[in-house]
C-alpha cells in the first residue's frame, strides 16, 4: 500500500495530502530536506489539519511518505519543536504518545507503515548526545536530529 492510499483511507486527514514536502509550513521548510524528493510519496500536516477538531491535543507536526522498492511505503513522522530546555522533552514525548494513540485509533494503515519518529530542533539545543536526556528519547523510540533532518531514501 502507498502512503497516498493510507492517507486517503483516513477521513480526518484525507484532504491534507500534499505532494513531496509541500505540506511543510513555510517556516519549517528549512528543517527538513531530501536529496531525492521524487522518492517521496507525499506529506501531511497533522498539526494544522487537526487543530480545529482537537484544539487541546498534543498534536504532532508532520508525516512524510517514502517510497520503498518492492514493498509498502514507509512513513517518517517529524516534529519540529524547540530543544532549548530539557523541559521540552516532556512535551515532545507527550506528542509522541498522542501521535501513536491517534494513529492506532484513526489511521492503522499509516501506523503499520511507521518508520522513524524524529524530533528536529527549532533553535538552540540544550542536551548533548552523551546526556541521559538523549537516552530517554532513544528509549522512547524517538530520534533526535539536531536542527536539520535529511530524509534518507533507498
Amino acid at each position: 500500500m502507498t502512503f497516498e492510499e493510507a492517507v486517503r483511507n483516513c477521513p480526518a486527514i484525507a484532504d491534507a495530502l500534499q505532494p513531496g514536502l509541500q505540506a511543510l509550513r513555510h517556516t519549517d521548510k528549512s528543517y527538513i530536506t531530501c536529496a531525492k524528493p521524487r522518492l517521496l510519496s507525499g506529506s501531511v500536516d497533522l498539526d494544522s489539519t487537526l487543530s480545529a477538531e482537537l484544539p487541546n491535543a498534543s498534536r504532532w507536526d508532520y508525516g512524510v511518505g517514502v517510497r520503498c522498492p518492492q514493498t509498502d511505503d514507509k512513513v517518517i513522522w517529524v516534529e519540529i519543536h524547540p530543544a532549548s530546555s530539557t523541559s521540552e522533552i516532556k512535551s515532545v514525548l507527550a506528542k509522541l504518545k498522542w501521535l501513536k494513540d491517534w494513529l492506532a485509533e484513526n489511521a492503522p494503515e499509516l501506523f503499520a507503515r511507521s518508520g522513524d519518529y524524529v524530533w528536529v530542533a527549532s533553535g538552540a539545543v540544550a542536551f548533548p548526545a552523551s546526556s541521559p536526556q538523549r537516552r530517554q528519547l532513544a528509549a522512547a523510540g524517538l530520534q533526535f536530529a539536531g536542527r536539520r533532518y535529511e530524509i534518507q531514501t533507498t
Binding site: Y117, A138, A139, A140, G146, R148
Partner: protein, 384 residues
C-alpha cells in the same frame, strides 16, 4: 591578546593554528599530536628554564635539534621534526627551532606548570622519584613534574604529617567534595616505613594504613594530580606561584570516576579564578560538558549559582567568586584529527551541521550512534 601557536608538518600534525583562551581544551583520537603540541608549548613558554634544567642534570644534545628532541620529548621523538618541512610560529613570530634550543637564554624563570599524562609513574612505593631517577630517554615533562612533587613533599610537609585534608590547602567546600570522591573514610598521610618516607592512606577509625600499591587505580592517579594542585595553590595569601602563568594538565580524567572528574574540573575553575591560563587535553565527555555548560550559561546570562549547581557545590561566597570568574573566561576547544589537521570546535553546538563539532570531536559520537540505533530498535519493536 590571546597567544597563538602555529605548527606545520610536525609529527602527526600537518597543520595546526591554535589561539589559546583562558581555558583551552585539546581533543582527538590517540596519537594525533595533542601531547606533542602541549610539550612544544612548554618549550616555547619556558625555553630558558627547560634548557638550563636539562644542563643542570647533565643532559647533552651536542647542539643538535634531533638529539634535543630525544632528550626533551623522549627517546625516538626526534622523528617528529622533518628538516625543510616542519615549521613553528609562536605569538606571530616564525621560529628556527634549531636555534631556539642552542641559544643561551638570559631568563631561566619558569612560567608553565606541566602535569603530564604519565603522572602515576612519578610515585614509586608512594614517594615521588627525583629527576635523576629516570632514564635519559624519558620525557622532560614527566621528570620535571616528578622532581617538583618530591621537592613539595620534602620542603613543605613535615614527616608523619597529614596531607589531605589540610585546613590551609584548597577551599573547604572543595575539600569536602574531594574527601567524598577520593578518600571516603581515609586521610592521606606522610608516613615513615623504616627510614623511608612514603604516602599512605590512613583509616580514620581503625588507624590502619594502606600503602600506595593497594590504593585504587583512581587514588593512585589522583594523588599526583592533587599534589600538583597543592603546588599551584600555595597556602599563603598569594594566590599563585610566582611567575607561573600557564598550567597544562594532560588527560585530567585518567582513572577517575565521573563524579571525581567533576570535582577535579571545579579545581580547574579555581585555577582560572587565581589567574592561571589553563590547557587541558582530554578524552572525557564530562570535561567538555563543563566547557559547553559554562559557555551556554554565559550566553544566557546565568549566574554563579547555576555554575555551582553543576558541581553540586555548597553556595558559599568563596565558591560564588570562583564560579563568577569562570563565567568571565574565554574558552577554546580544538579537535586533532587522524589526517593531521586541527579544527576549532569551541562552540560545541550539539546541533551543529559540522559533525565533528556536534560530536565534540568524536567524544559523544558513540553515544549519539547508540541513541540512534536504540531509538530505531524501540520503534521497530513497537511495530512487532
Amino acid at each position: 591578546m590571546n597567544p597563538r601557536l602555529r605548527l606545520k608538518n610536525i609529527g602527526q600534525i600537518s597543520e595546526a593554528d591554535i589561539t589559546f583562551g583562558n581555558l583551552t581544551v585539546l581533543v582527538g583520537p590517540q596519537a594525533t599530536g595533542k601531547s606533542v603540541t602541549l610539550q612544544l608549548l612548554k618549550l616555547l613558554v619556558d625555553t630558558g628554564h627547560v634548557l638550563s634544567e636539562l644542563k643542570r642534570y647533565g643532559l647533552d644534545w651536542s647542539g643538535k635539534l634531533n638529539e634535543f628532541l630525544d632528550v626533551y620529548l623522549g627517546e625516538g621523538m626526534n622523528r617528529i621534526w622533518r628538516e625543510g618541512e616542519s615549521s613553528i610560529s609562536w605569538k606571530g613570530e616564525q621560529l628556527d627551532l634549531a636555534k631556539v634550543v642552542t641559544r643561551q637564554k638570559k631568563t631561566r624563570s619558569e612560567a608553565m606548570f606541566f602535569i603530564p599524562a604519565q603522572r602515576v609513574l612519578t610515585l614509586r612505593d608512594g614517594w615521588p622519584r627525583p629527576f635523576t631517577d629516570y632514564s635519559p630517554g624519558d620525557p622532560f615533562a614527566v621528570r620535571e613534574f616528578s622532581e617538583k612533587l618530591r621537592l613539595l613533599l620534602e620542603q613543605e610537609f613535615k614527616a608523619t604529617e597529614g596531607l589531605f585534608p589540610q585546613k590551609n590547602r584548597l577551599k573547604k567546600e572543595v575539600r569536602e567534595l574531594l574527601a567524598k570522591s577520593f578518600f571516603p573514610g581515609y586521610n592521606l598521610q606522610v608516613d615513615r616505613y623504616r627510614s623511608q618516607r612514603r604516602l599512605v592512606l590512613q583509616d580514620k577509625d581503625a588507624q590502619e594504613q594502606l600503602p600506595f600499591m593497594v590504593w585504587s587505580a583512581g587514588q593512585r592517579e589522583f594523588v599526583p594530580l592533587l599534589l600538583g594542585f597543592y603546588w599551584l595553590m600555595p597556602p599563603t595569601k598569594v594566590s599563585r606561584r610566582e611567575n607561573i602563568e600557564w598550567v597544562v594538565i594532560e588527560e585530567l580524567e585518567m582513572g577517575l570516576h565521573p563524579q571525581a572528574i567533576s570535582v577535579t574540573m571545579l579545581m580547574v575553575l579555581e585555577l582560572l579564578s587565581r589567574g592561571y591560563r589553563v590547557c587541558l587535553s582530554t578524552h572525557s565527555p564530562h570535561v567538555l560538558d563543563v566547557i559547553w555548560a559554562l559557555q551556554t550559561l554565559k550566553a544566557n546570562k546565568a549566574d554563579s549559582s547555576s555554575v555551582l549547581d553543576i558541581f553540586e557545590s555548597k553556595k558559599t561566597d568563596p565558591m560564588h567568586a570562583v564560579a563568577e570568574k569562570a563565567l568571565g573566561q574565554s574558552m577554546k576547544v580544538y579537535y586533532f584529527d587522524r589526517q593531521g589537521s586541527v579544527q576549532d570546535i569551541s562552540q560545541l553546538d550539539p546541533a551543529s551541521s559540522n559533525d565533528i563539532e556536534a560530536g565534540w570531536g568524536g567524544i559523544t559520537e558513540f553515544s549519539g550512534r547508540v541513541a540512534e540505533v536504540v531509538s530505531k530498535a524501540v520503534t521497530a519493536g513497537g511495530r512487532r
